[in-house]
């Protein structure tokens, strides 16, 4: 019986562990985040100058929001204000970046810093993500990591 209680305790510990992981903030990642932001500056001029072909698509932000919740929120947080694994996207470095530079980062990732390549998403979906990210704006300093409005 004790053994089964042990197994049950392990289950509870696992169930508790996952939500906790998403909430924790670790100050040590600030340095890592800075190096990720710096990658935006490495986007080649040709990539940087690309215009978002979905700029006039009224559905792009809504579709990008769904994609963000499914693919990106796990690391960057549901409000894009940063999570344990990924930096905030609602900072000036990102919000002031050209759409082409953000698209370039999505395509190439920052593989050595933990950001995977997302070229497995078709180009239009990456541009939908860019539309959503750019629609967020810079977060106030006290922004909490809550889900954005649908």
């Amino acid at each position: 019986m004790t053994r089964y209680l042990g197994a049950f305790a392990l289950t509870v510990a696992l169930l508790r562990a996952c939500p906790a992981l998403a909430q924790n903030q670790d100050p040590r990642i600030a340095k890592k985040n800075a190096s990720v932001y710096a990658e935006l500056a490495n986007a080649p001029g040709k990539a940087r100058s690309k215009r978002n072909p979905l700029d006039n698509d009224s559905n792009a932000v809504a579709a990008g929001r769904n994609l963000f919740a499914q693919r990106c929120a796990e690391c960057h947080g549901y409000a894009a204000t940063g999570g344990k694994k990924g930096p905030s996207l609602r900072v000036e470095e990102v919000q002031n970046a050209e759409p082409g530079a953000i698209f370039w980062i999505l395509t190439n990732g920052v593989v050595r810093r933990g950001m995977p390549v997302w070229s497995k998403l078709p180009e239009p979906q990456r541009w939908q993500l860019v539309s959503f990210i750019k629609s967020l704006g810079v977060a106030p300093a006290s922004a909490e990591n809550t889900a954005p409005n649908p």
Binding site: A7, L10, C18, N108, G109
Partner: protein, 294 residues
């Protein structure tokens, strides 16, 4: 008693994983071929696959394997396999395990993206999962009864060079394989080719289950290329297989692939299917168990 405890713990751990942290995955439809996309770092993907195969002059079979795929880094994915098979009117047996690693040497996306693959296999001669085509493997090799085939122990290393491109929503991949049975057998060679595309390139503004963006379809082809002494297509088997994947918003991915033998050395028909689910935060969770921080 310890075994029962371990089993109960494992079962509970899986239940906990399955009901706690699913992640929406974007899986390719391939079952044999690999593209250049690796597992997201810290995530664990648990996959089950089946292969039903017809056998001329013998009993049909159902082979299956369980995969645990973990993203160690954004540039390194490791996988552990457990595999078994049932040969109808014969028996059901465990056939061995595999440990594979895929490494992305280039840090950015290019027109052609290479991935280096290294695998160690510890299996017996009754292995029928047909995870790759290699050497002079032919249908007649599968006629040996399980009781006899399982006596052969195979320790094998397998190297692959995966080159993959993504262009306008299409993925094209080519895998070149070299395998060496460590018991003094010659190097054997094989290949796998694949092409696939999501059914829609734009995402829907509304969350949906059945919309086209959640489906990817394609085709893969694979087979053996002989060995170091007899390189080429002589006495080799080859297959072509349409592939279809359905990435559900709940985090599950379903795959289906009917495969067709292309010559007389091949099984006439293979039906493969698989189900997988990806979980986030696995690495951090394990790290915490051991008092570590990421």
């Amino acid at each position: 008693m310890f075994f029962r405890f371990a089993l109960a713990s494992l079962l509970c751990a899986f239940l906990a994983l399955f009901f706690s942290c699913p992640v929406r995955s974007q899986e390719s439809p391939y079952i044999v071929a690999y593209d250049h996309y690796l597992e997201e770092p810290g995530n664990l993907e648990v996959e089950y696959f089946s292969t039903f195969g017809t056998q001329r002059a013998g009993n049909d079979f159902h082979a299956y394997w369980l995969e645990f795929e973990y993203g160690v880094k954004a540039w390194w994915t490791t996988e552990f396999y457990l595999e078994g098979q049932t040969t109808f009117q014969d028996s059901t047996i465990f056939t061995g395990f595999r440990w594979e690693n895929r490494i992305r040497p280039l840090k950015r996306e290019h027109f052609i993206n290479p991935i280096l693959y290294f695998e160690y296999e510890n299996k017996n001669g009754a292995d029928k999962i047909l995870k790759e085509g290699e050497g002079h493997d032919v249908e007649a090799d599968f006629l040996t009864p399980n009781a006899e085939a399982r006596k052969e122990h195979i320790h094998e290393i397998e190297l692959k060079l995966i080159v993959s491109s993504t262009l306008k929503g299409w993925n094209f991949t080519e895998n070149t394989l070299a395998a060496k049975n460590l018991s003094n057998s010659p190097w054997e060679f094989g290949y796998a080719l694949g092409a696939s595309r999501p059914l829609a390139l734009k995402a829907s503004p509304q969350p949906c289950t059945l919309c086209r963006q959640n489906f990817a379809a394609g085709v893969e082809m694979y087979g053996g290329l002989g060995d170091r002494h007899h390189f080429g297509l002589h006495d080799t088997s080859h297959y072509a297989a349409p592939v279809l994947a359905w990435n559900l918003p709940s985090g599950w991915t379903l795959r289906l692939s009917p495969g067709f033998g292309l010559n007389d050395n091949s099984h006439r028909f293979l039906l493969r299917w698989g189900v997988s689910r990806e979980f986030s935060g696995f690495g951090e969770m394990v790290s915490r168990w051991f008092g570590g921080r990421r």
